[in-house]
Amino acid sequence: MMLLLVAMLVAIMAPLFARTWRTMFRALGLQGLLLAVIAYMQLGDHAQPGDIAGWVMIADLALLRGLFVPAFLERMVRGRTRSPELELVPSDLVFWGISLVIVVTALWFGAKIPPVDTLPSLHLGVALTAVLLGLYVLALQTRPIGQVIGAVIIENGVVLLELLLTHHVALPVELALVGVFLGSILAFGVLLRRLETPTEDA
């Protein structure tokens, strides 16, 4: 589990240092797949008979967040953007330094919240890293494509935190949450396609 959480941390930070939006979408997909593996392992730890909601969540993470989100967003953006390049965070020591401070602060914060134990602390720290870095990206980005990446990173951070819980939500609630996430991604994709259309001044 420790290795998975470290991999997740790397996958969360990867878009910040990547230079093309394709790589960033793939990093989002990787985050989804890692979340699915973590959820699968958590389900094994707290398995309850007939826990359909848990399996729905794993399917959501693997199929929706891991495969559909990057593929759909890439399809929506393909041929619409002026350049394959994108900087989520300016290539500047100051902005990279702030990113690093956010990561360290989130991990430190995770270690201070009870129960102070290595695995839950790291889990909480990585989830907080995703939420804070997502907000940081949103604060810096003016391009819709960058903003949607920030928003999905936040969403993934919230789900990672949700995986820390031992009590899962009931099936109707899980289905409603999946439906809402799918709807949000579809709306983001459609709007992204319209807004990323090169304008006359491009």
Binding site: P144, V180, S184, L195
Partner: protein, 483 residues
């Protein structure tokens, strides 16, 4: 099937019907039919159900209590007014016909989700339905197809999604704090939440509450993440803006009420401090913007932020102010409906949203001028409208709670808003017309919804019917108000 759930199922079925090509030709008639059915049903259910009754439905996922009774009737009344306005306002151009079809489908889906959000007995389920209303509103906001319209839809989606994600994060943090301290899960069913006995007054618990308030505050247009609201209200067509301002605002308000009903007693100090701070910040920011803006639609939008701030302060003060908050919220839904629908007609006639380019409204559009005048009076909290009584009770609650500085600050901001709004809006109505355009046509069917809203507003200010008073009292009681 329980009749209460029909208030969501009827619009949902209507929305699905609009997907069938032959039905599309009658989309607006279908919209009006569903709106009449839904308003009639919600009113009948509210009249026949005692104010203190609590009915659980759908395996406990939904509840019909005083809060649901009050707000379900309110949003369906606004829906009926908007549907009547759109159905009475057909224009021959293709764009308008397409708008009618899209408006019908998305509005019916929006209303289905809105009614379910109000009925939700589960905090996360309620959250999901609020988000669903956001998603169904996107095609309506961006309908004009301009880059500005899609840009407004984008910012609306982005900030709503981020705000609601933070609210969801808050719920997860709350659950985690309970799991750690009490070694059991937190039931998100309202009737099973026993926060006081879980003894989880940890830092994580407080952080969770903070995130939930901040998230829902964003959806209500409260500072600091309010910037989506004026842009969206300005870019969307008048019926869409009315739905956002009078329906979506109130369902988010109900979602916030559900949090207060669950955690208000155990986390009173934190909730009051956060809501008051967000409310004061919103009122200050909106007042500054009202002074600086020369776009009448944006002025009404910033006034909406101002009202959201006043409502947050009222909730923060608590006690007897809660009754005023409810009356103010109900009145404001109707005020915003009157003003945004009128603003749309003025824009259609004059082709501008700038206040300094419009004169002689009473001469060119007498009814629109009268509605804008009375709507602005109600917006500013003049007697004899319901908003006046609501504001008065909230102010009284501040004095009663010993919050004299807050009272003085609120009075000062309201005075500033009063002067700034009056200075900008009233010359549009009363000044002499500089163009020779003649009197425009204003058919009665266009006016009927607004007359209905104004009459209800007057009724709330002059004579409060006993059953409504009892209902308001019951909701206030559930939020910690006096018996």
């Amino acid at each position: 099937m329980n009749a209460i759930l029909l208030t969501a199922l009827i619009p949902a079925a209507g929305g699905l019907l609009t997907l069938i090509p032959p039905v599309r030709a009658f989309a607006l008639q279908l919209l009006l039919l569903v709106a009449v059915a839904n308003f009639g049903l919600s009113l009948a259910l509210t009249i026949e159900t005692p104010a203190d009754a609590v009915v659980y439905l759908g395996q406990g996922y939904f509840v019909f209590d005083a809060t649901a009774q009050l707000f379900m009737t309110l949003i369906n009344a606004v829906f009926l007014g908007v549907a009547g306005f759109v159905a009475a306002h057909p224009r021959p151009d293709v764009g308008a016909r397409r708008f009618g079809r899209r408006f019908t489908g998305c509005t019916l889906a929006f209303m289905a989700a809105s009614n379910l959000a109000i009925l939700s007995n589960h905090l996360l389920m309620g959250w999901a339905f609020v988000e669903a209303t956001t998603l169904t509103a996107i095609p309506l906001i961006g309908h004009d197809g301009t880059r500005a319209a899609w840009g407004a839809a984008w910012r609306y989606l982005l900030l709503s999604t981020v705000g609601l994600s933070l609210a969801f994060l808050g719920f997860v943090v709350l659950e985690r704090s309970v799991e750690v301290s009490a070694h059991e899960g937190l039931s998100f069913f309202l009737n099973q939440l026993d926060v006081a006995n879980l003894g989880s007054q940890t830092f994580a618990h407080k952080l969770g509450i903070l995130l939930v308030l901040f998230g829902y505050g964003t959806k209500l247009g409260l500072a600091p993440m309010y910037s989506w609201l004026p842009e969206t209200y300005d870019a969307a067509r008048p019926p869409v803006t009315t739905l956002l301002a009078a329906v979506q605002f109130n369902i988010t308000f109900v979602a916030l009420f559900r949090v207060l009903q669950s955690f208000g007693a155990s986390d009173q100090e934190l909730i009051r401090a956060v809501l008051t701070a967000m409310g004061v910040a919103s009122m200050v920011i909106s007042a500054i913007n009202i002074v600086a803006t020369r776009n009448y639609k944006r002025i009404i939008a910033f006034a909406s932020i101002n009202h959201a701030g006043a409502l947050a302060i009222g909730l923060g003060v608590g006690g007897s102010a809660i009754y005023g908050v409810l009356l103010y919220a109900v009145s404001n839904a109707l005020v915003k409906a009157v003003l945004f629908l009128t603003a749309g007609q003025i824009e259609e006639r004059f082709g501008t949203k700038r206040t300094d380019e419009i004169q002689g409204l009473l001469h060119e559009m007498p009814f629109a001028g009268i509605f804008l005048m009375f709507g602005t009076f109600a917006l500013l909290g003049f007697a004899p409208f319901g908003s006046f009584i609501g504001e008065l009770v909230m102010m009284g609650g501040m004095i009663e709670a010993g919050q004299t500085i807050l009272f003085a600050a609120t009075c000062l901001i309201l005075l500033l808003v009063f002067v700034a709004t009056g200075r900008t809006m009233f010359p549009m109505i009363w000044s002499a017309s500089k163009r020779d355009a003649g009197r425009g046509s204003e058919p009665f069917v266009d006016l009927a919804p607004k007359i209905f809203f104004l009459l209800v507003l007057l009724t709330l200010g002059i004579y409060m019917p006993a059953p409504l008073n009892e209902l308001l009292g019951q909701v206030a009681l559930s939020l910690g108000g006096p018996r």
